[in-house]
Symmetry: C2
Subunit: 162 residues, 2 copies
């Protein structure tokens, strides 16, 4: 089971895309600025997201990425699966060969847990996240920050206050 920044970044970036989808294609440098994620790293993640048909790209000036389908039809589990290989909690990827060829004592427990996590993340769509209050609040803050010049501008103000 691995859920690290890779999966978290991917979901955050996709949510950013969903939040700004009314403004035409969103460039990775915009996402990088707003979310504080390295541009090159985003490129790697979006390469995978594109191959899994979650986004489409538009090249050239004014280009960027778009969600390949509606907000409501993209689920967190799909995004995490696209960049992590899976949210599998077993060590044997469900093959039941965890103890040198045989099923280990706790195999079924980890299968149950995997199902639990997958079900949970499969039920949450980008549309649901967009409409959440906590998400809207953070998004509003980020929009103000990025208009003032970059994701870390609050750090500078903090330094000035000090």
């Amino acid at each position: 089971m691995r859920l690290t920044t890779k999966g978290r970044y991917a979901v955050t970036a996709m949510l950013d895309l969903a939040l700004h989808s009314d403004q035409g294609p969103v460039s990775l440098s915009d996402i990088s600025n707003r979310q504080g994620i390295s541009l090159s790293y985003l490129e790697q993640l979006f390469s995978k997201l594109r191959k899994k048909l979650l986004v489409t790209s538009v090249r050239g000036p004014g280009g960027g990425y778009r969600l390949s389908r509606s907000n409501e039809d993209i689920f967190v589990a799909q995004i995490v699966d696209a960049v992590n290989e899976s949210v599998d909690a077993t060590g044997c990827k469900g093959r039941s060969d965890c103890q040198s060829g045989n099923t280990c004592l706790t195999h079924h427990l980890w299968c149950d847990l995997s199902d639990q996590i997958h079900d949970f993340l499969s039920q949450i769509s980008l549309a649901q996240l967009v409409s959440r209050n906590d998400v809207r609040q953070v998004a509003d803050r980020q929009n103000i920050e990025s208009r003032q010049g970059g994701a870390d501008s609050h750090m500078i103000s903090a330094a000035i206050i000090d």
Copy 2:
């Protein structure tokens, strides 16, 4: 969020302990043989389990480890917490400082997921696992194997068959 072999080994070992608790203290070398986990690695894990008061130790010949309380009062979440630091899915460990001091866009989502996982694993006791059919079947196989001489004896038989 990390759930790797460390946590899985710990739960497997604790379940082995629960399954053989009627036979007095269980030595780590017994667990190592039955479960195919390195002895030195088990020692590290049990050092943490002991510090978290999940097991008690008996030194000297015939010694080993015992569960510190009843089957029914030890839960999978406690075991995983004892060896991993936590099953937290956020990157900021709940501190809400995920984006250079501020809350990141998906912070609350990962909090919800963490709660979900923790609730699930908190409800499963060792006693419940011991009474599961899938666990009993694997345990029976392991008992036969270990009487025949080690956890990997089936590998040898397989080699002979080849």
